[in-house]
């Protein structure tokens, strides 16, 4: 079906993914950068601050882009990051 797609899906608002809450345990981070590099949605980037172990922990660029695949949690060697679902406001 090669038609070029020109319109926004009408349901794009309705079927919204759950919002993510990303938790970074800064002082446990050793700055390997795995979470930043392998995040499929490029949600993270290296921060400027320096943590207890003298490295730059990651910081969140755009939490709304996170799809909670939790690969960062799985690939972190230092148990320094994990993601939870934000409890949705209404209903």
């Amino acid at each position: 079906m090669p038609e070029r797609i020109k319109h926004q899906p009408l349901d794009s608002k309705k079927i919204k993914q759950p919002d993510a809450e990303i938790h970074i345990i800064k002082d446990q981070c050793k700055g390997c950068g795995f979470c930043i590099e392998f995040c499929p949605k490029k949600v993270l980037e290296e921060s400027q601050e320096i943590n207890a172990r003298g490295v730059h922990p990651p910081k969140i660029v755009d939490e709304s882009k996170c799809i909670i695949c939790s690969f960062c949690t799985a690939v972190c060697p230092d148990f320094a990051i994990f993601v939870t679902e934000k409890p949705s406001k209404e209903e």
Partner: protein, 279 residues
């Protein structure tokens, strides 16, 4: 907030021992992460779990796991685990150790435990060298690689660990890299649900020691290498799964049913006791 900052896996770790000693970019933490992840998904009874390790960086993982654990002398994790498993078959006994520990000084123990099909589960973090002693050549160091003891390039042929394990009779054999965490976790789960001797090799970045000598100074660079060169070929011939700079064949190579030593032993016991009569 504080409540939120508790990592979901922290209950599987000994808080007193975390953070661990491993370098930035070292893959050992990923191996430990996948291991506890598998424990979590299986809801394993930690009271019935024993983690045994030998000497080397990854050897510390026994101490980090919040279960009964033992840190043996160099190379002896497998015979220790054998003793534990035979003494109390109800226990799930997992050996987490390195390539040097398991296949150089401990190589003989490995092949015999596999041959006997003792129901222990072995996870080997293969980082291609002796990290803790500063990066000497080891049984898995690739040809021509540079280490502190092969300054002109390694001239020893490395072990193909999955081939060795399969040939020795392991009932489950898999290889993944620390980039394949999802599959690694699934493999560990599968292994923990099997009877008999199981083996998983995890190709692991060692940027500070091995990488530094071989133009891969960061964990990321080594992970990029894995990404570039890995091909998933489940149940392909393990003898053709050598690790080269161009090609890392990963996947499940063996998954067979074979009665374990301890199960066999207890079947025998039953027969013996049929015959046994009081004096």
């Amino acid at each position: 907030m504080v409540q939120e900052m508790v990592h979901p896996f922290s209950k599987y770790l000994r808080s007193a021992m975390i953070p661990h000693i491993w370098c930035s970019g070292c893959g050992n933490g990923v191996v430990l992460n996948s291991f506890v992840h598998a424990l979590d998904e299986l809801q394993m009874d930690l009271d019935k779990l024993v983690v045994v390790s030998g000497i080397g960086c990854i050897g510390r993982s026994a101490g980090y796991t919040n279960a009964d654990s033992f840190h043996t002398t160099h190379g002896r994790a497998i015979p220790f685990a054998t003793g534990v498993k035979l003494a109390n078959p109800e226990l799930e006994v997992v050996v987490i150790s390195g390539d040097g520990d398991l296949f150089a000084i401990g190589g003989n123990h490995f092949i015999h435990a596999a041959r006997r099909n003792i129901g222990i589960k072995v996870i080997c973090a293969n980082n291609f060298n002796y990290g803790m002693t500063g990066g000497q050549q080891g049984p898995t160091t690739p040809l021509e690689s540079l280490t502190t003891t092969t300054p002109y390039g390694n001239i020893e042929h490395p072990f193909n660990l999955v081939h060795l394990a399969a040939a020795s009779g392991a009932t489950y054999v898999a290889r993944w890299t620390t980039l394949h965490v999802r599959r690694l976790t699934q493999s560990i789960k599968r292994m923990l649900q099997k009877e008999g001797f199981c083996f998983i090799e995890v190709v692991t970045p060692c940027p500070e020691i091995f990488g530094r000598h071989n133009k891969m100074r960061t964990g990321l660079e080594m992970m990029e290498w894995f990404k570039r060169s890995s091909v998933v070929e489940n149940f392909s011939d393990p003898s053709k799964a050598e690790i080269t700079p161009e090609r890392i064949v990963v996947g499940e190579f063996v998954n067979v049913q074979k009665v374990s030593y301890e199960k066999f032993f207890h079947e025998k016991l039953a027969q013996i006791n049929e015959k046994a009569v009081e004096w």
